[in-house]
Amino acid sequence: MLLTAACQREKRDLRPAPTRLAVLGTAARESLLQPGGAQAPLEPVNPAEGNAYSISEGQRLFNAYNCSGCHSHGGGGIGPPLIKDVWTYGNDPANLFDTIVKGRPNGMPSWGGRLPEYQIWQIVTYIRSLNKLEPKSATPTRSDSIEQNPHTLTPVPEPKLQ
């Protein structure tokens, strides 16, 4: 069991296959009623769950796609904080996926159609890791705001040309 958790953490999937969501376009159903009798509910599995590489990619994309422009590094600003106990639209991976893909009222843009699906899952898993919902051994140890990125790098003054 320890071994499978470690394998899940350490694997690197550079070309994740699209999930069935690519066809359905949504991850979380809003109603449990279904025609034709009860069927096994669609439970989309987060392919990046517990995976260290995906979480670090999520961290990179969070900055690259400027999520931090509205959400800062999880603390919120123009947008709501992403480190919290009460989530309006839920913090299951499927719910977070839908939030990013469909957008939400009052300002959350819809990223579906722009971002490739596998990257959305990486960002989802990263947000979950901010809330300590991912294994500690796969989570980055530094908060985003103090992590090195081009905007936090202030080069030392250039030495005089000797």
Binding site: L2, L3, A6, K11, S56, A138, I146, L153, P159
Partner: protein
């Protein structure tokens, strides 16, 4: 072979062999195997374990060479290749080279200085168990995918938490803790053994050159190893696990600081590997030229000088980082000056060969191979010390060629020679000389075929640590030759192993001194009994065994009902007092197990260090629990 008498005549024997064998015998069974504290057993364990890691590192090297044999090859993807070259470097540097030298030192030094065991036998055992467990822990990452891909030197920020994900680098950093503890243990005990437990009359100017090299090497370990523990644990592991910012430039940290600390260790590390090899070469030459090494004081001073100057070179690994020019120029000067200390020894050896009466054993073949390869590597080293040349050659295959020349030529070939030379002493059988020479030639040709073309690939622009290269660069011939050479090295290694196994089983039975050597280890039977000498020898010359046997003296009056040795003074080796060594003990093993558990937990949670301290404390309590009666006699 000569008919020199190597045993004290029976009439003057004062020690009872049966009593000695009772006292020095290991405890029976599996617990006995875990409790061994005799230096030969532990030294041989070091050697066997290190050899196993050499084979692992060799397989990794072969995989790399197979990937690079053709441009745009798809045998290994980038991640896998990066992992493999990291493992190759790490295994060879931390898990093979230093422990192998330690093992040879632990085996030979007590015999050469004329005593029964190292100064701290339980520490010796503890060091071995830490090394073994560290190696197993590091490789256990292969089964969980936690394998570092950041290079054996793990530069930050690439190895930091942001760019190296998962636990691989953490395993690497903690493995270093294990191996450094092990190296420090051996260093401490060898220094004390060499300085305080020599045979009476073996003043420092009569100390065999191998013991001098181990003395200097051990002192270097004590100053260099803490730096790597700082770099890997305090710096890197803490950045990765508990959120320090030592290498995070966004918060005021500095990646260059990591490089300084790492290379402050890293450069002396290669001399730590290299110095015992110099000592081995001296001993092999002494025995096979029938004369003492020319210029003993010069060689000793060169060894000591090497040890000092090696600490002043580290920035030559950082010439491209943009440090101030004047400072870098100092390191150019120092890096070239160390060629003098190595050069003086080489001149002395050539003088010895020139005036000696040569016997070309297989070991001597390896010594001549060492001379060729190491001197060539030294020449490219002088080139690399020059900043303009280094700025072109740094981080290319030119450097790869250089350090393989000096490491394989300077350390591995002497190790092969030492193996052929001392094989009879530790196994009681003569190694097959003809197979030894054949394996030498295959290894020598294969080695040069592998690494010489790398000089050309490097100056033609091929950088290091690339998993593939485009066909239009013109590097494929050099790479293909290197890969073919690597296969040759593998074949040579296989012949060597076959030779060792065959000779173990069916070699000619060896007497105590087949080479007419000069040093004390050849005075005992092959293989030596656990207590080494029946009667501790007294020496009156630099070459004890070249003195007429009638004129040789020994110590009488030592007790043979307990593990007793004689301690002597530092400079003149006058007898000082008798010292009782501890018997077999399981506590070194248990303490090592406790520390291992704690250190592994520490990779995942910082509180693991508390666990390690607690378990270590329990282990040390058991270890140091006073024995029932303690006698101290003047």
């Amino acid at each position: 072979m000569s008919a020199v008498l190597t045993e004290i005549p029976r009439e003057t024997k004062t020690a009872d062999r049966d009593a000695l064998s009772r006292v020095w015998r290991p405890r029976p069974g599996f617990t006995g195997w875990l409790s061994v504290t005799t230096h030969q057993q532990i030294g041989l364990r070091y050697i066997k374990t290190a050899f196993f890691f050499l084979l692992l590192g060799g397989v990794e090297a072969l995989l790399m060479r197979l990937q690079l044999a053709f441009p745009n090859n798809t045998l290994l993807g980038p991640f896998r290749y990066n992992q493999i070259f990291t493992m190759h470097g790490t295994t060879m540097m931390f898990l093979f080279a230093v422990p192998m030298m330690e093992g040879v030192g632990v085996c030979l030094v007590p015999l050469m200085v004329g005593t029964r065991n190292v100064a701290f036998p339980r520490l010796n055992a503890f060091g071995y168990w830490m090394y073994l467990m560290g190696g197993i822990f590091f490789y256990s990452g292969v089964f969980t995918g936690s394998v570092t891909a950041a290079g054996w030197f793990a530069y930050t920020p690439l190895s930091g938490p942001q760019y190296s994900v998962g636990k691989g680098v953490d395993y690497w950093a903690q493995m270093i803790t294990f191996t450094e503890i092990s190296a420090l243990c051996v260093a401490v005990e060898l220094i004390v053994t060499i300085l305080r437990m020599r045979a009476p009359g073996m003043s420092l100017n009569r100390l065999p050159l191998f013991c001098w090299s181990m003395l200097v090497q051990s002192a270097m370990i004590i100053f260099a190893m803490p730096a790597i523990v700082m770099a890997s644990n305090f710096f890197l592991l803490n950045d990765r696990t508990i959120g320090t910012h030592l290498a995070n430039p966004a918060e005021g940290g500095d990646p260059i600081l990591y490089q300084h600390i790492f290379w402050f260790f890293g450069h002396p590390e290669v001399y730590i590997i290299f110095l015992p090899a110099l000592g081995m070469v001296s001993m092999i030459l002494e025995a096979n030229t029938r004369r003492g090494i020319f210029g003993y004081p010069a060689v000793v001073l060169s060894l000591v000088g090497n040890g000092f100057v090696a600490f002043g070179l580290w920035v030559h690994h950082m010439f491209a980082t943009g440090l101030p020019q004047l400072g870098e120029a100092y390191f150019t000067a120092a890096s070239m000056m160390i060629a003098i200390t190595s050069g003086v020894q080489i001149f002395c050896w050539i003088a010895t060969i020139w005036t000696g009466r040569l016997r070309m054993t297989a070991a001597m073949h390896f010594v001549f191979g060492f001379l060729f390869i190491f001197v060539l590597g030294g020449m490219t080293g002088v080139m690399l010390a020059s900043i303009p040349l280094d700025l072109q050659a740094h981080d290319t295959y030119f450097v790869v060629a250089h350090f393989h020349y000096v490491l394989i030529g300077g350390a591995l070939f002497p190790l092969f020679g030492a193996f052929h030379h001392w094989f009879s002493k530790f196994t009681g059988r003569m190694i097959d000389e003809r197979l030894g020479r054949i394996s030498f030639w295959i290894l020598f040709v294969g080695f040069n075929l592998t690494f010489f073309p790398m000089h050309l690939a490097g100056v033609n622009g091929m950088p290091r640590r690339v998993y593939t290269y485009p066909p239009e660069m013109g590097w494929q011939t050099d790479n293909l030759l290197s890969s073919i050479g690597a296969l040759m090295i593998a074949i040579g290694g296989a012949v060597f192993i076959a030779n060792a196994l065959k000779s173990l089983r069916a070699g000619r039975v060896a007497d105590a001194d087949p080479w007419d050597s000069s040093t004390l280890e050849w005075a005992v039977p092959s293989p030596p009994p656990a207590w080494n000498f029946d009667n501790l020898p007294v020496v009156s010359s630099r070459y004890p065994l070249w003195i007429d046997p009638e004129e040789r003296a020994c110590v009488v009056g030592m007790r043979d009902d307990r593990r007793e040795v004689l301690t002597t003074t530092v400079l003149d080796a006058a007898p000082h007092h008798r010292y009782v060594l501890p018997a077999s003990s399981i506590w070194p093993f248990l303490t090592a197990v406790g520390l291992t558990i704690g250190l592994i937990c520490a990779v995942f949670a910082f509180s693991g260090y508390w666990l390690a301290s607690l378990l270590g404390l329990i282990g040390f309590i058991g270890w140091f629990w006073p024995p029932r009666h303690v006698e101290v006699e003047p």
